[in-house]
């Protein structure tokens, strides 16, 4: 048992994966008509959540309470941008993709500039940027003309290969790459170091500014990409397309076992965390509960999972951690 504990402490994604399994079984019992088709619906929704959540994971891992609150506005803006530029033609797709990615990277760069140069706490900086982008989306909304989606983009956003949604393949790919980056590259190691203790990382010679900037760039780019795919999926952009991803991206990251205080990430956990969230909603819907109950249960489960996984502070040398963002957890010892 203690062996499992030890292993689970190092592989924090396991709890959310267990949750996914349980809910799946529950769904199976509830419906008794669980088909691959409606499961792939869950997978598709989860995949759209995974992309921005992976970006959020990188930002959260930079530590000091950093969170990217500009993700929903980035998604919305890029949804409009892609629809307006591509305008349903395959030939414009590369231009649209480039524009969307450029916008995402620019947003990430702006966030990084505000956080690193002007020393504005990430939460506030991204909040402010989000406000500005919201206006951008409103303006883009005025220009919005077309509801046609380019066929190539539509394939990625809506179609399946051998029953597996293409966008899920994309999401799994993103998770695999992120996992590799976090575990096996110099960048992942230095990012983890910065997230655990910025002063220690700086004194060890880490260029923390560069490391943190890259995290924001990744987050911006992934959110922008997601916005483009969501627009293609919905067959058009609308102002609220990004809104759910504010809370859900954070929830998926944390449910997956990434430490909200930074310095400990699990990309695999983001995948299972996103699936868990979507499955919760689906289960409630299948159970025929009202939208109010849906929200209620989702909230209670988020809090419960956290209460359980914080395990009375077993894995918490982090609360004594240097530079530990008190905004997340007041300092304390037993």
């Amino acid at each position: 048992m203690s062996g499992f504990h030890h292993w689970a402490e190092r592989n924090r994604w396991v709890w959310s994966a267990l949750g996914v399994l349980l809910l799946w079984l529950l769904l199976d019992v509830l419906t008794a008509r669980l088909t691959l088709a409606n499961l792939s619906g869950v997978a598709q929704s989860a995949a759209f959540l995974v992309l921005p959540a992976v970006g959020q994971m990188f930002v959260v891992t930079t530590g000091r309470g950093n969170i990217d609150l500009s993700i929903p506005s980035t998604i919305t803006l890029s949804a409009f941008l892609s629809m307006n530029i591509i305008a349903g033609s395959n030939s414009m797709l590369p231009v649209g993709l480039a524009a969307v990615l450029a916008a995402g990277l620019a947003i990430g760069a702006a966030n990084a500039f505000l956080v690193l140069r002007l020393r504005i706490p990430a939460m506030i900086a991204t909040l402010g940027v989000g406000y500005i982008l919201a206006t951008g989306a409103l303006l883009a909304n005025r220009q919005f003309t077309t509801y046609t989606v380019s066929s190539a983009l539509s394939f990625v956003a809506n179609q399946r290969i051998a029953g597996v949604p293409v966008v899920l393949i994309l999401a799994v790919l993103a998770v695999a790459v992120a996992s590799f980056v976090m575990r096996r590259t110099v960048y992942g190691r230095l990012l983890t170091a910065v997230g655990q203790s910025l002063p220690a990382a700086e004194l060890s010679g880490v260029r923390s500014g560069k490391i943190v900037s890259i995290a924001f760039l990744i987050s911006g780019a992934l959110a922008a990409l997601d916005g483009m795919l969501l627009a293609a999926h919905a067959g058009g952009a609308f102002l609220e397309v990004g809104t759910p991803y504010l809370l859900d991206s954070i929830a998926a990251v944390v449910l997956g076992g990434t430490l909200i205080a930074g310095g400990g990430a699990t990309a695999l956990g983001v995948l299972s965390g996103a699936f868990l969230l979507v499955l919760i909603v689906t289960t409630i819907q299948v159970a025929g509960l009202s939208i109010g109950m849906q929200e209620l249960v989702e909230g209670v489960i988020v809090v419960l999972v956290l209460a359980l996984s914080s395990g009375g502070g077993r894995t918490r040398p982090m609360r004594n951690r240097p530079g530990f963002p008190r905004i997340l957890r007041r300092a304390g010892t037993r």
């Binding site: 002007l118 909040l127 402010g128 951008g136 060890s204 010679g205 890259i214 400990g264 040398p317 304390g332």
Partner: protein
């Protein structure tokens, strides 16, 4: 010797022969008596069969290497740690450990001054003195401020005559030495003081203040109080103590009168080797001085200084006279490749800090990971890492640093301070620089490891590296080939070879220009003019906004116009004030808007239909809200995520009560928000009242304590304040503000919508931050928050008056937020550099 000592306490039979014990003073009732105290942490036996009795009037000097168990023993005495076995009496009363807490210890006159300062930096000296007397959250406390100011003045002057502290200055504005003065005086102010434990009390005090303290301890002992004095400075122990207790490996190995021992014997008993480093014996390649090109050059000192490979340069002087800034200037110069403050440095140096917890270790990592990261720093970011491969590169270091290979996979925090320090040196060596900077690296390291450390530094220098070493222990500087003595940020003296001696260093530290007397009176300059100006930014932008609006449309200045415009600001102000109490406590509530929405729904539905049930439901909601605070505190969960989850719960409840917008406002509620005083816009009055209430709450004792928790919760807990009770209080206060916002929403809209509150969450955070509160907690600024909230909510109206589409509303809000914070950040940066 070490083996003999080991045998000595392995075999109790031999104790009689070797272990000296003073006959316990049976005739007087001891203040505390410990019998057979034992405590284990996992496999570590921190305390083992400890017997100790302390009589009134005794000053017990407690010494021992790091990990000897001193701290654990003191924590047992002060109720912070419950021992596994043994018994404990205070003044003859047997203590039941299960009911023994810091509070209980305090009630019996037992008080500890911790090595790490436990002051709240964001509170004033007076307020910190208040924290010394824990009280329940809602206890009445009128006139506490003047009472504690008087006490602070009396106590600081009694122990440290002439210290002249500014009692209404925040502690963060004081120098480290002054902070220690506050810490000690505060503990000494405890009413019925029976036993005062001083854990390294003089680490930041200069010689004069340290003398004052010892004088005071002697006087206190003469009056019958007992003291335990813990220090690594053994001559201080011998000076002040009447009796010395030596601990080693969790046991007491020597206990006797102070005059029967000496520094040398104490060191030996603690398990160290007597320092055998005669002056000038450091084996340093001095001949290299003129041959190699300098690695570090310092301009601006009389003839300029050149440091070369093979040298060990010591930085000396009283603590806080510019040594550390010098070290960091060298680091930055090497890193950026440009001169910083006249210092140029040829390569990026490795850096080892003595503040292991604050700026040394990566706490989630193993020892191995903590070491190899040093080598990763210089690699391409996309390079592949493999811990197993890197293990081999670490092997050669292990021998040299005497780190046991089997411990490589242990978490770094499981190691003792000394071993953590060696890990950090290994990391710096992996970095592979020719320059090594040491920032008081042996702080809190046991004697034996220190000796190893000295040997290591000599080796590193001998292999052709330049070592620059800042130390607060003058004896260590004998290891150096050159010593620079700092005074008021300047190098005032360079000592070479034979000139280096402890006496010379002390002499140069004190007798140089400026005089020792100038130190204590030096306080930080107040905030600069510009930063004071920025404090008025929230009020200023509000004024500008109002002027612009009146200029555009004079109607806005009429009571009716103002009321109309500002009624939308009322809920924003209320939610923001609630959020302020969270942010002041280093937390953020991402569910505060939905909570206000829920209360609005409750008040527009249930409260109308069934007033009693509705009122009950709202009270219940507030209780749940406060309980959430308790849950967060007890389970130590991140509030950001819990409140995020809770926001779903509030919204869900709201939907169930009222699936679509509707309902109506109770008549009394509408009246409460729409009463009329001639010429006074109701909404203005409401906003002002809300602000005043917040200011009043903030200024009460409970409000101060809440800010204290935001700054340093651990310190408050150790003083005996109930974290759980105050967490609930914080959530209850914030919940009341949010509930008031919910009521105002219902009254203003005469209907409710569960989604009406959502937008307020982020807006409230923006308002609080614009208002001047630090996101990292501990600061509250109710007036600024009110201004910020009103400004943010008026922007839309201003745009309307200017004929600009309200599409731009959000963008202007965002830009204002970023602009104010950007300016604030830039100023802080400039001040930090200055």
């Amino acid at each position: 010797m070490a083996q003999a000592a080991q045998r000595l306490h392995d075999d109790p039979m031999q104790r009689g022969g070797r272990l000296y014990r003073e006959p316990p003073p049976e005739e007087v009732q001891p203040v505390v008596r410990l019998r057979g105290i034992g405590k284990s942490f996992g496999p570590t036996r921190a305390n083992d069969a400890i017997d100790l009795a302390i009589a009134p009037g005794e000053v017990v000097g407690l010494v021992g290497a790091n990990g000897a168990g001193k701290s654990t023993l003191m924590r047992v005495i002060c109720g912070l740690v419950q021992p596994d076995e043994g018994s404990f009496e205070i003044a003859g009363e047997t203590i039941d450990f299960t009911h023994y807490s810091p509070n209980a210890a305090l009630a019996r006159g037992i008080r500890i001054v911790h090595q790490e300062l436990s002051l709240c930096a964001n509170l004033t000296v007076t307020e910190n003195f208040m924290l010394e007397e824990p009280a329940p959250p809602l206890a009445p406390a009128s006139g506490w401020r003047s009472r504690f100011r008087e006490r602070a003045r009396r106590e600081t002057e009694e122990i440290f005559p002439g210290v002249g502290l500014r009692l209404d200055a925040r502690v963060e504005e004081l120098r480290i030495g002054q902070r220690q003065v506050v810490e000690i005086s505060r503990a000494a102010a405890t009413g019925n003081l029976r036993l005062l434990v001083l854990d390294e009390p003089t680490s930041s005090l200069d010689a004069g203040r340290s003398g004052h303290l010892r004088e005071w301890v002697r006087n206190g002992a003469a009056k019958g109080a007992a003291f335990i004095f813990i220090s690594h400075k053994l001559h201080e122990i011998l000076d002040v103590a009447t009796r010395v207790v030596v601990m080693r490996n969790g046991r007491v190995v020597w206990d006797g009168a102070a005059e029967r021992t000496s520094v040398a014997t104490l060191v030996e008993q603690m398990g160290g080797h007597p320092p055998a480093v005669p002056a000038g014996s450091a084996p340093v390649a001095r001949q290299a001085e003129n041959a190699a090109p300098p690695l570090v050059t310092v301009a601006g000192v009389a003839a300029g200084l050149n440091f070369r490979a093979g040298e060990i340069i010591g930085l000396a002087g009283l603590d806080g006279n510019g040594q550390r800034p010098f070290l960091h200037a060298v680091r930055r110069a090497g890193r950026r490749g440009v001169a910083v403050a006249g210092i140029s440095c040829a390569a990026e140096p490795g850096f080892v800090s003595g503040d292991r917890r604050g700026e040394g270790v990566f706490p989630l990592w193993s020892v191995l990971e903590n070491i190899v990261v040093g080598g990763s720093v210089r690699r391409n970011l996309l390079g592949i890492v493999s811990a197993t491969k890197e293990r081999r590169t670490v092997d050669p270091l292990l021998d040299r640093l005497r780190i046991v290979g089997s411990r490589l996979d242990a978490n770094i925090l499981e190691l003792s301070g000394g071993n953590q320090q060696k890990t950090l040196v290994a990391r710096a060596l992996m970095h592979g620089s020719r320059i090594l900077l040491l920032d008081d690296p042996t702080r809190g390291v046991d004697v034996e490891t220190k000796q190893e450390f000295y040997r290591l530094v000599r080796e590193i220098a001998a292999e052709g590296a330049l070592v620059i070493w800042y130390s607060t222990e003058d004896a260590e500087l004998l290891e150096c080939s050159r010593v620079l003595v700092f005074r008021d940020g300047q190098v005032t003296r360079e000592l070479r070879g034979g000139e280096i001696s402890e006496e010379a260093i002390v002499a140069c530290s004190f007798i140089e220009p400026g005089g020792a007397g100038a130190r204590g009176s030096q306080a930080h300059a107040g905030p600069s003019f510009v930063s004071r100006l920025v404090q008025f930014a929230p009020a200023g932008s509000l004024v500008v906004l109002l002027v612009a609006m009146v200029a555009l449309n004079p109607e806005t200045a009429t009571p009716f116009g103002a009321d109309l415009l500002l009624s939308a600001a009322v809920p924003v102000v209320l939610v923001a004030l609630g959020q302020m109490f969270f942010i002041g406590g280093s937390e953020i509530d991402l569910g505060i808007g939905p909570f206000a929405g829920l209360v609005s729904v409750l008040s527009a539905t249930l409260l109308v239909a069934q007033p009693f049930l509705g009122g009950l439901a709202i009270l219940l909601a507030l209780a749940v809200y406060a309980a959430m605070g308790l849950l967060i505190e007890l389970r130590r969960m991140p509030s950001i995520v819990v409140t995020l989850g809770a926001s779903f719960v509030w919204t869900g409840c709201g939907y169930m009560l009222q699936p679509t917008p509707g309902g109506s406002s109770p008549a009394w509620l509408t009246a409460a928000f729409n009463w009329n005083v001639p010429d006074l816009p109701t909404s203005v009055a409401l906003i002002v009242i809300a602000g005043i209430v917040a200011v009043l709450i903030d200024r009460t004792r409970a409000g101060v304590v809440l800010r204290g928790f935001g700054n340093d919760a651990r310190a408050l807990r150790q003083l005996g304040w109930s974290a759980a009770a105050f967490a609930m209080l914080r959530y209850a206060i914030a919940g009341c503000f949010a509930a008031a916002a919910g009521f105002s929403l219902t009254a203003i809209n005469t209907a409710s919508d569960i989604n009406a509150g959502n937008a307020y969450t982020l807006l409230s955070i923006a308002a609080v931050v614009i208002g001047g509160c630090e996101l990292l907690g501990g600061s509250t600024a109710p007036v600024g928050v009110v201004c910020g909230a009103v400004t943010l909510s008026l922007i839309g109206a201003l745009l309307g008056l200017m004929g600009i589409s309200t599409d731009y509303n959000a963008a202007v809000q965002g830009l204002l937020l970023l602009a104010i914070l950007g300016v604030r950040g830039a100023i802080r940066l400039r001040e930090a550099r200055a």
